[in-house]
């Protein structure tokens, strides 16, 4: 049986990445005028964590990143936590057998989960309109999403490349362990279950 890695490293790395990405997203990215579509860094981080390191890591990272998102730019507390938690879980379960956690398939996963995320926002806007007398039609919301989604998805995939490399090689777990076996208990799932 392999010796378990200490927990401090993943917690510290997730905390640093979560805070840095959340702050960059709301301070630096809006200043980059040449970016017509802003990548969603905390969403990308949650998706890749769920995909690469399993549901438990994804779940907690999604909750933490979602809290920062709610705190920094959300209308309410809890919504970002809910969405990013499910984004991470979707990334873990979606096409699991097909992708087999191959690193570069994480980029495909980013696009797919971004699509689901945008769809969830459309449904929420439809069910919970902000002004009671102004209820947008579902068709109107879907048309808007169809216009913005492809670019948003591609922007997330493009910014997902460096984040993927960061998590893979400077991430919470030793890359050698990841190369050997992802499901043997050395990373996310097994580690948290042990605790």
């Amino acid at each position: 049986m392999r010796t378990q890695q200490p927990l401090a490293r993943p917690i510290l790395i997730y905390a640093v990445y979560g805070v840095v990405f959340a702050i960059l997203q709301v301070t630096v990215l809006p200043e980059l005028d040449f970016l017509k579509v802003r990548p969603d860094l905390t969403l990308i981080l949650s998706i890749l964590t769920g995909y690469l390191f399993g549901r438990i890591d994804g779940l907690f990272l999604g909750l933490a990143a979602g809290f920062l998102r709610d705190m920094l730019a959300g209308r309410t507390l809890g919504l970002g936590m809910l969405l990013l938690m499910y984004a991470a879980l979707a990334a873990h379960y979606l096409l699991r057998d097909f992708f087999r956690r191959k690193t570069w398939m994480g980029l495909v996963q980013i696009f797919l989960v971004t699509l689901l995320y945008e769809l969830a926002l459309v449904l929420m806007s439809w069910f919970f309109p902000m002004l009671p007398d102004q209820v947008p039609s579902f068709g109107q919301l879907m048309a808007r999403m169809a216009t913005t989604m492809p670019l948003q998805g591609l922007a997330n995939v493009a910014f997902g490349v460096p984040i993927l490399l960061l998590l893979r090689y400077k991430g919470p777990y030793d890359p050698r362990v990841l190369d050997e076996d992802l499901d043997d208990g050395s990373t996310g799932e097994g580690k948290w279950r042990l605790i």
């Binding site: 630096v28 730019a73 809890g78 809910l82 947008p136």
Partner: protein, 280 residues
């Protein structure tokens, strides 16, 4: 084994229900739940300010490098203008003193005298749909506390409407911007006996930085180029704050349902310092 594989599902269901309750509880205006973020705001504020300062430095530095010659020319022109303005300031200071004396004597009431103006720096901007409010570095510790029926107008340095305060925690406040689909304000055409109408955010227009004008009275005379200001109805926004300019009239089948498109006067992308108008 079955017990192990089921327990995460129960946990996820429990977390989901808890978060839904949290969302509902924190969506009420003035909810104390929103203050849960206070400790984190206190911790994150210095980091955010450092990042903002670095961003400003980089922007200023790159501008200095790329626009050096232009800056030098502008500097010379500004020095000349500065000398002229200094002379004017001296004259205006004297005129100001005379005005204050006159004002006291005649007991003139400045229209914003009832409001305390609190300045704040924009800390964060929107991420996307549903995460689209701004955050500023003043909060409950500065006397801002939003209630169920109480909020505050937010304007820029030129007294143009930016939005209203949505929620506050110990050291920060969230602003619902004027282009947001949840924003609504009673406005009027900036003229003598200008007609009342409603200015609100719109799903489709907000991406272009525009607002919708509706509830236009049948008898109202509204034209492209008209400036709209707040009417003062509703109690949150003082009257006379500039909202924006009409850029398009949308005539529908009936005159009752006329709509117009408004371009807000405030430059949302470049505003960095805002002022909260707190009623006294």
């Amino acid at each position: 084994m079955p017990r192990n594989s089921r327990s995460p599902i129960y946990f996820i269901i429990l977390v989901t229900i808890s978060l839904i309750v949290l969302v509902i509880a924190s969506s009420f205006p003035g909810s104390i739940i929103n203050q849960l973020s206070s400790p984190f705001s206190v911790i994150l504020e210095p980091i955010q300010k450092s990042v903002l300062n670095v961003t400003d430095l980089v922007r200023t530095g790159s501008a200095a490098v790329f626009e050096g010659a232009q800056i030098r020319r502008e500097n010379e022109a500004l020095q000349l203008e500065n000398a002229t303005l200094r002379n004017q300031v001296t004259q205006l200071e004297e005129a100001g003193r005379q005005y204050e004396e006159l004002k006291s004597a005649l007991q003139l009431k400045d229209k914003y005298d009832r409001y305390e103006i609190i300045g704040g720096r924009l800390m964060t901007r929107e991420i996307g749909d549903w995460f689209d409010v701004f955050r500023i570095d003043i909060g409950i510790s500065d006397g801002l506390s939003v209630g169920e029926t109480e909020s505050f107008a937010v304007v820029d340095a030129q007294s143009r409407l930016v939005g209203r305060i949505l929620s506050t925690d110990a050291t920060s406040a969230k602003i619902l911007p004027v282009i947001h689909e949840g924003f609504s304000v009673s406005g009027k055409i900036d003229s003598v006996n200008g007609d009342l109408l409603r200015v609100r955010g719109d799903y489709d227009l907000k991406d272009q930085g525009l607002c919708m004008v509706d509830q236009i009275p049948m008898t109202a005379s509204i034209h492209v180029g008209d400036i709209l200001v707040t009417s003062g109805l509703g109690g949150i926004f003082p009257s006379g704050i500039e909202i924006g300019e009409i850029i398009e009239i949308r005539e529908s089948l009936s005159v009752q349902n006329r709509q117009a498109v408004l371009r807000p006067s405030v430059d949302m992308q470049n505003v960095s310092v805002v002022f909260v108008m707190k009623g006294q």
